[in-house]
Symmetry: C2
Subunit: 383 residues, 2 copies
DNA sequence: CAATTTGTGGCAACCGGTTGACAAGGCGTC
DNA sequence: GACGCCTTGTCAACCGGTTGCCACAAATTG
């Protein structure tokens, strides 16, 4: 403190003048105009942010900065008169809170993390959009990360995110349950497309859609149905196979399970041989990509869809109706899953941490439905 | 300060004990173990973050917090010995910087914003992935926003983001040039899929891909080519039409321009009538969605593709090869655009602000190429 | 061996908003 | 009119990391 301590020493800010910090008692609260004339000069420099602070507002409104803080974040804590005064000043100065300054003492960041296995997998598009829309509507920011289908990358990304977000959404996570629970102990976590004990989840209930699909197949003269499974570690693949088995039993159809090498168009192509060998006349596949690949390969081999084989996918992804014939599929409302997960997270964050501490976490189930298109239909007699 | 001033008063943190702030001279630098035994008790409470601070590191390493800060962010500023001491302590405590605390004084947030017109438009998927990958590789975080195709929403989102990011990527922005330049004065901005004077841009150079496409059409016996334009305000649509005109002139083909109501599958369906009326035997459409819709409608009317009409799209979006026949298209390397934009932003942020202040901003051009599939080919004589 | 340069670490102010404690003022009540 | 309660605003500490300035020590030089 050799006299020049009022100089700016932050490299990124202009060394224009002393910061107009609130300095105790306001000497002349009645004449804020007096120094308002010279105030504008201090703003706008290299990075030119015209961001006013609560100190600026306090000066204009003639109150203490802490009063400004309360007026803007604690409704009811200050009088209506002061409230208005401060709000007007804030509007005039075009004030926006500095999220970093707020996050530092409170830990609240107003940010969600969303981790998806593969950004370019269309299954996640609607999930991302749903989450983004709901988050933005509530003034939360969405930050996105991709795990590239690797459990390790996913965990790293999740850990890194934990420091900067208020909550995390894991869409079809690849890491194991224990790691998810460990993350959930730290901050609110919501899982999409998988059920994890003790963690709130958003899962499509496959039964309605599957039973619609199987009933439709039975009505069209099919007797044997194949299910092409997804990755062995996929929770959802197991549920779908269970659903297919149950629905087939109910409709008195045979059900066989086939394995795929990978849940992609290519994997669908590869499984075509097994499908034909199985003798099934209708196929449900773990997802639409498999269905599309399977259909391409069958058609290339001269099999007519749906006259000889009916094909039903899952998810109703973008592009499912581009094929000829367009793909029949069991739609999961993925947009709802995304927005539902974000809404669940918001609930968790804004609910009293005491209340409901004991009760099990909420799991949100969304309905699935059959989207009947051209790839499934009446089985024509051979010849 | 009535004696209890060392109590925790932050609602979100445990009022367990006095914060272990660095308190001036280190009294016993040789015996850090002494109080290390009771230290663990203070961590892990309701929100259980085990995050160590530079103060904790300073204590363990027996140095001043500022030295820790320098060791971790200013390579070379401290001696190798101290550096190692601090790094070891940091590793032991599993230290992670608090991005908010860093952002507050420096203004550096290590965050990029990416605004896309429509998250569910597959054109943007690869852009998002490219940007995310490049940003993450350099320890930047990507935050995503959607403008829902509205210039006003886009501007609002951009303004809001400006406060929290180091730089902004606008993919196919809808707002006008002046607004973009205004944003760019504030912080680094990179634009994808559009050229804006004075702002660094990443644009696919359509000429190579288009001339390949037109040459291929000419070689297959076509004489008249139609171009189905996109939205009037789309910069890229204008470039593509120019490219088509130039390439057709070169190959001595007729070129006619048709308008679409909207750049979607539906818009493609609607333009089918005009296409047939135009007498063109080959069509290039502003994007793949239009091409797919157009093909669906033509096929429904009994037109055989490509025997009677060849169809060529733009972008090679996901699903372009799901159609029958699969779509021929001029591919833009969208992933490269995304990662290129992020790389440009990183350059801008890490380069000396002095250097290159005068020179025009870098514009990155990426090549396009023809992806020849089944929807284009030899024109069969009628009958 | 003294004088100067260079290197290294410490001190303290500061980013901007939040909040527990407290005090001053307004009000109703007995 | 005195008392206590409630409302409203002020004070100051604090989140965790950054950095200008300075001091002290080591290294270099004359």
């Amino acid at each position: 403190m050799k006299g020049a301590e009022c100089e700016r020493w932050f490299g990124n800010r202009p060394a224009v003048c002393c910061r107009a910090h609130y300095d105790g008692a306001v000497t002349e609260p009645k004449t804020p105009d007096a120094d308002a004339t010279k105030a504008p000069a201090k703003k706008h420099a290299r990075d030119g942010r015209p961001n006013a602070t609560i100190y600026d507002i306090a000066k204009v409104a003639g109150v203490n900065p802490s009063t400004v803080s309360r007026a803007l974040s604690k409704p009811g804590r200050v009088s209506a008169k002061t409230q208005k005064l401060i709000e007007d000043a804030a509007a005039e100065l075009n004030y926006q809170v500095n999220p970093f300054a707020r996050a530092l003492p409170t830990g609240r960041t107003s940010t969600f993390g969303l981790i998806v296995a593969d950004i370019t997998n269309p299954t996640f598009f609607d999930i991302i959009r749903g989450a983004e829309t709901t988050a933005t509507a509530r003034d939360y920011t969405l930050v996105l990360a991709e795990s590239a289908e690797s459990a390790a990358t996913e965990l790293t990304a999740a850990r890194r995110m934990m420091a900067t977000v208020d909550g995390l959404i894991l869409a079809s996570p690849r890491m194991d349950d224990d790691n998810i629970r460990a993350l959930a102990r730290d901050k609110p976590v919501v899982v999409i497309n998988r059920e994890v004990d003790g963690v709130p989840c958003v899962v499509p209930d496959v039964n309605k859609g599957i039973s619609e699909a199987v009933r439709s197949l039975a009505a069209n003269g099919h007797h044997k149905v194949a299910f092409v499974a997804g990755p062995p570690q996929s929770w959802m693949s197991a549920r779908r196979w269970e659903g297919v088995q149950a629905a087939c039993e109910w409709s008195r159809l045979d059900a066989v399970r086939l394995e795929s090498s990978k849940p992609t168009v290519d994997g669908g192509r590869q499984v075509a041989r097994d499908v034909r060998a199985s003798g099934a006349t209708a196929v449900l596949t773990y997802n639409d990509l498999l269905a599309i690949g399977l259909m391409q390969e069958l058609q290339a081999a001269g099999v007519v869809v749906p006259d000889q084989i009916s094909i039903v996918g899952f998810d109703d992804i973008f592009g499912a109706d581009f094929t000829t014939p367009p793909l029949t599929t069991v739609r999961s409302p993925l947009g709802e899953c995304g927005s539902g997960a974000a809404a669940l997270l918001l609930d968790l964050l804004h609910s009293d941490p005491q209340r409901g501490a004991g009760e099990p976490p909420a799991t949100l189930r969304v309905e699935t439905e059959l989207v009947l298109r051209g790839s499934s239909g009446r089985l024509l007699p051979p010849g």
